[in-house]
């Protein structure tokens, strides 16, 4: 399976816009050169018209190379899509960059470029004083700007791996000095430098330049790392054309801290102390640095608002403070609705937002309903969060101004939450598309440990918050008058494991719910409806006439206050919710529970 199969299928079906949407999903960093080259061929089949209609910014880019550039244009065009750019690329004859720049009648100027990329490498740095060398390049930039009024991009010099002078190598010192002088001259808009010395260090200088391909075909950057260079160049281009993301929207639980605040409580969250807790703090430090240079931060979390805010007030380890966030959305609505509210509040388009969440299902929903938002696939291990986010180059800027640094404060000052009542996306069809499968059965011996853990830890979706020991759970499972149900859920994105547990008993004509709880990770997935259907069926099979349950309020379970009400139960004076089984109607459920009924109705 290649990384671009979905785009290929769409193209084969004649669906250009669909293929474009697939290609624009943030490119998998791990996919290799050949896969990306294949993806680039697909990108070339999408018309310029389709790209513009999809909201991409058309840019005419000229590449002036001192080495072979043949593989670069398609890869750059591919990465341009994810960066919001429809690149039309002119490739100058290899090695002729000086003539192209200096000759007013050259093909370069006939192309009328909006951006020029000087694709040079360390071998192009001439001997002599570093100041004179920097001046020489700055002179070329000026000619380009004067004649073509274009943005000028240039590769900073990639200091090579080999150093005849060892740690005292004069060539290394000189290239570093030239790079620093180029950066000084570029500041203020004269040019945009692509820091190839940094990038080659990140990928490893021994991989960056492969001498075999240099001797064979004058390839300055090895093909295997060219996709990484293309991503970096596309990031700088997108900054030049105003397509960088401006706001990063963050989940809270297991994104900013370890654990689930609503269930574990603020005091128990992993922040520092453990190695994993340290990783969350390190991620927060990175985010704080983003904020301090003008990237807006926002929260979009499924939580009670008071719970979501509590760690910011009570956990002194938190690096990020509430004042670092320009918008704070914590409720039980779907996140697509939350992101639209955040965009509206900050007066930004959805295409200015990026979204980071540890839960694959949430990311998939956002991709589906807000395709303009850049979705960050946070990896399993929080220690890798920083690097994953950084490698996507979402927030590149052409300069950092004082105004950027003050922007977050500006938004925070006018902050007050707006209510989130935008139109709901078609959730039913989204849920069906997740291909959810549930296994719902009476407690088995192998379930006892996990059920006990859920019973003692679940605070939010828990109607009675009754706690039982492992021995008690085991006894319940064996008790003839007790009815138990454990639910496991998986979908095409992953396996959620055992996420819901129910205990009920028949008493006379009544089927009474003793315990009903569910992990909030699967909220909004129809699991509660599936449980309801199973309860109604079980009660009927037991010959009961009514199904009943209680809601016992705690500080944390406000979420399920009205659960019975929304399912057609009525409350009596004692607070017992009852449903006459003769009137009970089964719910439509988007989960295949093994009975072969992907959606069942009464």
């Amino acid at each position: 399976m290649s990384a671009f199969d979905a785009a290929k299928e769409r193209l084969a079906a004649g669906d250009g816009p669909g293929a474009l949407a697939e290609l624009r999903r943030e490119l998998p960093g791990a996919s290799d050169y050949l896969a990306q080259t294949a993806g680039a061929r697909l990108a070339a089949k999408i018309t310029a018209d389709e790209k513009v209609r999809a909201g991409l910014t058309p840019v005419r880019l000229a590449i002036l190379g001192s080495s072979t550039t043949a593989q670069l244009p398609p890869l750059l065009a591919l990465h341009g899509l994810a960066a919001g750019l429809a690149l039309e690329i002119h490739e100058a004859t290899f090695g002729s960059y000086r003539q192209e720049i200096l000759d007013p009648g050259s093909a370069l100027y006939a192309f009328k470029p909006q951006a020029v990329l000087l694709y040079v490498n360390y071998r192009d740095a001439e001997d002599g004083a570093p100041e004179a060398e920097a001046e020489r390049w700055a002179g070329l930039w000026k000619v380009l700007r004067d004649r073509a009024a274009c943005a000028v991009l240039m590769n900073g010099f990639d200091v090579p791996a080999e150093r005849p002078g060892g740690n005292l190598d004069a060539g290394v010192a000189r290239l570093r000095r030239v790079n620093a002088l180029l950066a000084e001259r570029a500041a203020g808009g004269a040019a945009l430098l692509i820091d190839c010395d940094h990038l080659s260090g990140v990928v490893g200088k021994e991989r960056w330049h492969d001498a075999r391909f240099w001797h064979d075909a004058k390839q300055a950057i090895a093909p295997t790392v060219l996709p990484r260079y293309a991503a970096e160049a596309a990031a700088v281009l997108k900054a030049a054309f105003g397509r960088s993301r401006k706001c990063l929207v963050l989940d809270l639980d297991n994104t900013l801290w370890g654990g689930v605040v609503g269930d574990d409580g603020a005091a128990a969250l992993e922040l520092g102390e453990t190695a994993r807790g340290e990783a969350f703090l390190e991620f927060q430090r990175y985010l704080k640095a983003l904020a301090s240079r003008g990237v807006l931060l926002a929260v979009c979390s499924k939580n009670e608002e008071a719970n979501a805010r509590e760690p910011f007030a009570t956990r002194s380890e938190m690096i990020l403070k509430l004042s670092d966030f320009s918008a704070f959305v914590a409720n039980w609505e779907d996140k697509a609705t939350g992101l639209r509210a955040i965009a509206a509040k900050l007066n930004l388009g959805l295409d200015a937002l990026a979204f980071a969440d540890d839960t694959p299902g949430e990311r998939e929903l956002v991709r589906r309903f807000c395709p303009e938002v850049a979705v960050v696939d946070l990896p399993e291990d929080p220690a890798d969060y920083r690097r994953t986010l950084d490698a996507l180059r979402l927030f590149e800027t052409v300069s950092v101004s004082d105004e950027d640094r003050g922007r977050a404060a500006h938004f925070a000052a006018e902050a007050e939450r707006t209510s989130l009542r935008n139109e709901a996306p078609d959730l039913a069809s989204f849920l069906r598309g997740l291909e959810m499968r549930a296994e719902a059965a009476a407690f088995r011996e192998s379930d006892v440990a996990r059920v006990t853990q859920l019973v003692n830890k679940t605070n939010q979706f828990n109607l009675t918050t009754r706690r039982y020991t492992e021995a008690e759970v085991r006894a319940l499972a064996a008790e003839p008058s007790a009815w138990t149900l454990s639910v496991r859920l998986r979908d095409r994105l992953g396996d959620y494991g055992l996420i819901s547990a129910v205990i009920a008993r028949k008493r006379g004509d009544d089927f009474e719910i003793d315990t009903w709880l569910m992990s909030c990770r699967v909220l909004g997935r129809d699991v509660e409806k599936l449980v309801y259907n199973r309860l109604v069926e079980a009660a009927r099979a037991a010959g009961a006439k009514t199904l009943s349950g209680r809601y016992i309020p705690t500080a944390k379970n406000g979420l399920v206050k009205n659960l019975f009400g929304t399912m057609g139960f009525s409350a009596d004076k004692e607070g017992v919710w009852r449903l006459p089984l003769a009137k009970a109607v089964l719910s439509e459920v988007a989960i295949d529970d093994g009975a072969g009924k992907a959606s069942r109705a009464a």
Partner: protein, 81 residues
């Protein structure tokens, strides 16, 4: 040591990817002259693809010398020992 059939099939997938032809069937006698687009750029793509797939490394002189499928297979098999 890799089975010759497995090596052949894996190399065929690389050729299919490089030349964007899912129906391409390779045979030992196939040369650069037989395939449209087998130029110096495609040659590099084949080398990079084979190095990645088989975890081998071709020497500078070998890169140019690989003129047909049979040589590709012999060299890869020799490197895999």
């Amino acid at each position: 040591m890799m089975e010759p059939e497995k090596l052949h099939a894996q190399l065929e997938r690389i050729f299919q990817s490089v030349f964007d032809r899912q129906d391409l069937a390779i045979e030992d006698a196939l040369t650069a002259a037989d395939i449209d687009g087998w130029d110096s750029l495609a040659q590099i793509n084949l080398v990079v693809g084979a190095e990645d797939a088989f975890k081998v490394r071709f020497a500078t002189a070998e890169i140019k010398a690989l003129k047909n499928v049979g040589e590709f297979k012999r060299l890869i098999a020799a490197k895999l020992g």
